[in-house]
Amino acid sequence: MKALVFAIRSFGRELRSGEVLVLLAAVVLAVAALTAVGFLTDRIGKAVARQANEVLAADLRLRSQDPIPDSWREEADGYGLRTADMVAFPTVVYLGDNSALSTISAVSAGYPLRGTVRISEELFGDEHDADGIPRPGEVWVDSSLMARVSGKVGDVLDIGTAQLTISAIITYRPDQSIGFASLAPTLLMNEIDVPGSGLIGEGSRVRYALLVAGDHSRVAEFNDAIEDELPDSLRLRSAEESSERAFAAADRAQRFLSLTAVISLLLSAVAIAMSARRFAHRRMDTVALMKSLGATQGFVIAVAMLQLVLVGIIGVVLGSLLGFGAELVLSWILADIIAGDLPKPGLTPVVLASGSALVLLVGFALPSLIQLRDTPPLRVLRHDAMPPSPSRIFVAGISLGAVALLLYQSVGDAMLLIIMLSGMIFIAAALYLVGRALVDTMGRFRSGVGIAWRYGLANVARRGRASAVQVVAFGLGLTVLLLLTLVRTDLLEGWRRTLDENAPNQFLINIQRDEVVSVANIFASRNIAPPNFSPLVRARMTSINGESVKDREYPTRDAEWFVNRQQNLSWAQTLSASNEILAGEWWPDDYSGPPLVSIEEEVSVETGISIGDKLQFEIAGQELEAEIASVRKINWDSFQPNFFLVLSPGALDDYPATFIASMRIEPAERSALAALVRAHPTISVIDLDSILQQVRGIIEKASLAVQAVFFFTLAAGIAVLFAAVQSTIDERRFESAMLRALGARKRIVFSGVMAEFAALGAAAGILASAGASILAAVVAVKLFNLPYTFNPMLWVAGMTAGVVVVCASGFFAARGAINSAPVDVLRGAGA
């Protein structure tokens, strides 16, 4: 109680002293950065999941061969979720004498629950978002169906016994990749018209789906509740593996945000540790005095603790406010990708961030406080009486452990944490050793330089250990800032590549072998570069190493699903530019031996199938065996056709193949597509423009978010530098007063101090450049799957940044010390 009164009483004045302010700033920035990052990671994560769900046109999709009982719909209602029905079946549609096989999708009001259907009024004309679903009596058809029946908007189609009017052309359907296998052109109609067509009866191949969407957590609850009671006839689908391609970019944004969170936290930890040290050091005199007046150890530590907690509380309040403000601004920026019915961010990120900051504060300040407790009261008579140093290794170990745990809690990315933490510890150790060596060398040069530099370098050398600690702090701050800049640049660069205006935006599928030349000619004759064709053979996997795929055990349900589904096989002579071999070897150009196959990395991991395994396929009634020769990584950002399984040349020559192709078509060239589908009505054109536009949207917003969070981290970095400069301010104040009292002009003293900072900044900058290059290389390759190239300019930039930033923060921190009148300082030596 006494301690509390005393702590509060003196707190107001303490707050005006530099070290408490820096400590406070460190806490505020830690809380603000963590709150903002937590918010963003959460939000962007949900937005990305939402985009992925678009592929289902829902959050969950229940599928069955039979009508789905109402009980499931009611159960979903019970969870407050929205539902829509979908019935799909193949049939031949007629327009006058023309007919075409097509897949009919009949939907109920509300479809699609996620994403929007895009339509246009003429073939390859301007598209726009559809408002609802086709009205009763109307249908929307895709461009290839339109071409196959030579129809136009307004024509009437015969579908079974019903006559329905074409009212629009579908250019994009969120769930168009589902049922991709059927390849037949699509027709979308209103569920109400289905009975009138008389098409659904015994024996018809009908698929039913119940689409479910709603509040994120309610969907998850619903999913958990029904998962176990689902009959075999019902399949539940919650995500689509093909979404990987479009959202790899957003995924990286999230990783970057996590990285930023880790870095902000580490920087705040350094700033807090440094300013807490000074906080304790400055209190030593007061503690000694209070002990001489009869205060116990418990009392002095309670006072310091309470003041620390006060700093913590104020820091948490200000930081949360700042974090909330950032949230507001960011959600405004990100309004488009954060859909309305996502749960509000709530207090969780704030609570987590505040908790983390307090753990940091207590953890990193504790060693200094323990030392403070042991301050000898003799210090009131002999100013050099110092408390013994506590075992810092032990306490630092505990604090670091606490930080690691906190980070794991909020980031959950073990790999990222291991790389970052071990990287930082390693760099800190290297910085310290090299820092000491540099400090020693610099001291030797001082006789050859002017007075300002001599004084500056002498200072660096004299404060040996403290200078090295400053190099570590500056260096760590600069390292992570450089690292962040590097990774950010790489990331934005990678995204720009994704946003490449030349990225393919059209997929052509179901091209027959004998159509390839003619298709290429259609484009060539219009001066459009013809697409690259990839062969595609449909197959079923029958056994693996002689064991039937049905009998085998798989680690995951996804794996089971993968081996049992229809496989799209391809072959290739050379490795696609968007692929990279991770294990084994790609076959030589002239390979003509027994069939080999290259498998995609994740499929290999999930199914447990790897190099040397023999896969047996059944293709149109024939058998094929191929041995796995390599494991590949696919860059899904490329928007090139890619296959999980690619065979060696010749392996599939005897089997019926179709071709697929991707290409870029500019808006002005779209008539070529119309000509293509007219000449080859069985070829389907899938327009990726809408998806690409979505991806661009996500990336642009995510870039903005990344920049915003980057700004917070920069601020935290500057707090570290400030704390490092602050740690020597008392000594500096006294020294400069003394020098000036001895007749040195202010400018000389000032240049001396600046020389010292310049020397430290340059040393730290060079070391930071080395550290950042290495760490960035590891991070880029391991975490972001980005190629990394060493950039020599970085060293120049690092050193310049070191000198400029350290001198600038040194200027602001030391200005007061140098400007204060010598007499005040010398007189005020004993307050």
Partner: protein, 235 residues
């Protein structure tokens, strides 16, 4: 004046007190075999050339530091037998300090500085008691000021008020006028002796000033860590 002989009513005793410290040149004896008793209410000046060990002796007497051998009893309690918190409690109850460089807590104002030892000693009404003594040192109109806003003499008044606030049995002063000009110094000393007389506190005063030393009842002089004389001042 008073004539307390060593023995029964000694408030402070040093018994074969020695202090050694380790230095680069090996172990260094900075105080050797010092023995004396100080009676209640006595005022004692400790004199000697710079480096004689005066401050060292003071630190040991007040329990701020521990002797290498020998011991100190304060109010009959052997300080060497207490732990640090125990010695702190003894100080809170029966010791006051005035230092050469004032040593006020910079983040507390004058009144709060004076209240500090009262609160540490769990005094019933620290604010009233502190205000009372602040008036006695003539700073009633400055009590809200922070140390940085006070002159050296004023700071020392606050320090004196703080030292006397708990009516300690023993008051230690280490060159209390060392940082003040002669005139301010003598007013400060007048104030100290006045308060000392009023509250019959035992005063241990370290000083270089012979005139000041002669205002005390007794002068102990040290040189090179040895007690060279212990004499009573003629009234």
């Amino acid at each position: 004046m008073s004539s307390n002989e060593s023995g029964t009513n000694a408030v402070l005793s040093a018994v074969t007190l020695s202090k050694q410290v380790s230095s680069p040149e090996g172990s260094l004896t900075i105080l050797s075999d010092v023995t004396f008793d100080i009676g209640s209410g006595e005022s004692v000046a400790v004199v000697g050339p710079s480096g004689a060990g005066k401050s060292t002796l003071l630190a040991l007497l007040a329990g701020l530091d521990l002797p290498t051998s020998g011991y100190v009893t304060l109010n009959g309690v052997n300080l060497s037998e207490l732990d640090e918190d125990g010695r702190a409690r003894v100080r809170a109850e029966s010791v006051g300090f005035v230092f050469q460089s004032f040593h006020l807590v910079p983040s507390l104002n004058a009144l709060e500085n004076v209240m500090l030892p009262l609160e540490l000693a769990s005094h019933a009404n620290p604010r009233v008691a502190a205000m009372d003594i602040i008036e006695q040192v003539g700073l009633a109109d400055r009590y809200r000021h922070y140390p940085a806003q006070l002159s050296g003499g004023e700071k020392q008044r606050v320090a004196i008020a703080r030292a006397f606030a708990t009516a300690p049995a023993v008051l230690f002063a280490d060159e209390p006028t060392g940082n003040l000009d002669t005139r301010t110094g003598s007013t400060i000393m007048d104030l100290m002796f006045e308060l000392n007389r009023r509250s019959s506190t035992t005063l241990i005063l370290v000083t270089h000033d012979t005139a000041l030393a002669e205002r005390c009842d007794r002068i102990i002089s040290l040189d090179g860590g040895n007690l060279v004389s212990d004499s009573r001042v003629a009234a």
